[in-house]
Symmetry: C2
Subunit: 206 residues, 2 copies
DNA sequence: CCGTAACCTTACCCATCAGTAAACTTACTC
DNA sequence: GAGTAAGTTTACTGATGGGTAAGGTTACGG
């Protein structure tokens, strides 16, 4: 019983959330295959059959974790971007929200980015769909003038990838989200503007 | 016996490479915990005790895979960058080499990027060290004038992260490495130049 | 104060899989 | 063509861990 003290009987909805909290943590620490249902149950302060009763199989549990955490992340970003006028503002708000989320919910980010993405079709697809929702939103920002087909999509992927890497960096150095956002904007904003305007870099030498 | 036909006895050095080939594939497909030594042995066309005799434990085997694949990737990039004069040329050559490698050795990239990175200290450190060698090289390129402390480091992380994401994109669309490289340069080159010159973007609103 | 339903546990089964013991077979040397 | 070392296998063990059966305990409505 090293889990949080749960001396009392609790309603199902509460227990389920506790189990999901524990599961996110264990999956974040050990990965899908490395995690054991016993450990999840223990950390949740509950016996194993409870987990199976409420959340189903290990796959079901992992799926539930992914859905909950992805929804939280998405909600944070979309609500931040919601009331920003210009493209630049939306990008800045989105990045700040993202970096803030990763800093405050490392386990959640770990499960989504490191663990789920590394898995086969059942789960990687789920999280990739969420990722693509973000990328598509970015693409929409960058491609308002309907530029060349793949251009904007590739750019969005690169942008999100850069943000991922910077999030990791920032969570190690502990710098505030606004600073990290400035770094990223500093690197890519002119390139994005150029994409919006249709200009492009040409290879000079090889 | 679904593995490659190995009807004959082979010298140790050859068998070891076959085993590593098989291991890289299985680890790429299933992840460290999901992979079984039986499957590795079968795919290598050999029985399990051979794997243990030649490569040691599962951890040893995974470590050997990581080291071999990381060395291959590093060697390809460094040799490509070697004879390029300007910063711009070095970046372009490095990116092209990287995208080319990922396209041609998906399993290798998968193990290094998705599988090993998602693991705990023993392996993640190993591959992170290789990753940092690359990032440091990029930092050296970008920070030749000795700019502000963290700036160049953060930029390199973002750059490598963007490259990772684009590599994934490129491996899905199948576009040639030169095109992907142009996309990336198009996005970040001006920002990099600005970093080299010491200029910086400043948040305007929000 | 009794029933019943929601909450929760102990104790087990069995498949998978890392790792090994012991022996067999081919090739190469002297 | 004996001797031996390298290459290789079959057949096992022991632990881990997903999943379940059967039953115990608290709350709460009637």
């Amino acid at each position: 019983m090293t889990g949080v003290a749960n001396p009392k009987r609790l309603p199902r909805a509460v227990r389920e959330q506790q189990m999901l909290d524990a599961a996110v943590r264990v999956f974040a620490d050990r990965g899908y295959h490395g995690a054991s249902m016993d450990e999840v149950a223990e950390l949740a302060g509950v016996s194993k059959p409870m987990v199976y009763l409420y959340l189903g199989s290990k796959e079901d549990l992992f799926g539930a974790c992914i859905r909950r955490e992805a929804a939280r992340l998405m909600e944070r970003i979309t609500s931040a971007v919601h009331d920003a006028a210009t493209i630049e503002c939306r990008l800045v708000s989105g990045f700040e929200a993202f970096f803030g989320y990763v800093a405050e919910h490392k386990d959640s980010w770990n499960v989504l980015y490191h663990r789920a993405r590394a898995l086969g079709p059942p789960f990687a697809d789920e999280v990739d769909r969420a990722r693509h929702d973000i990328i598509d939103a970015v693409t929409g920002l960058v491609d308002q003038r309907g530029a060349s087909a793949g251009e904007a999509g590739a750019l969005s992927h690169a942008l999100v990838g850069a943000a991922d890497a910077l999030a990791e960096w920032a969570s190690r150095t502990g710098e505030p989200a606004t600073v990290t956002t400035a770094r990223l904007m500093n690197l890519v904003w002119i390139g994005i503007e150029r994409q919006i305007d249709g200009a492009s870099w040409r290879p000079a030498s090889s």
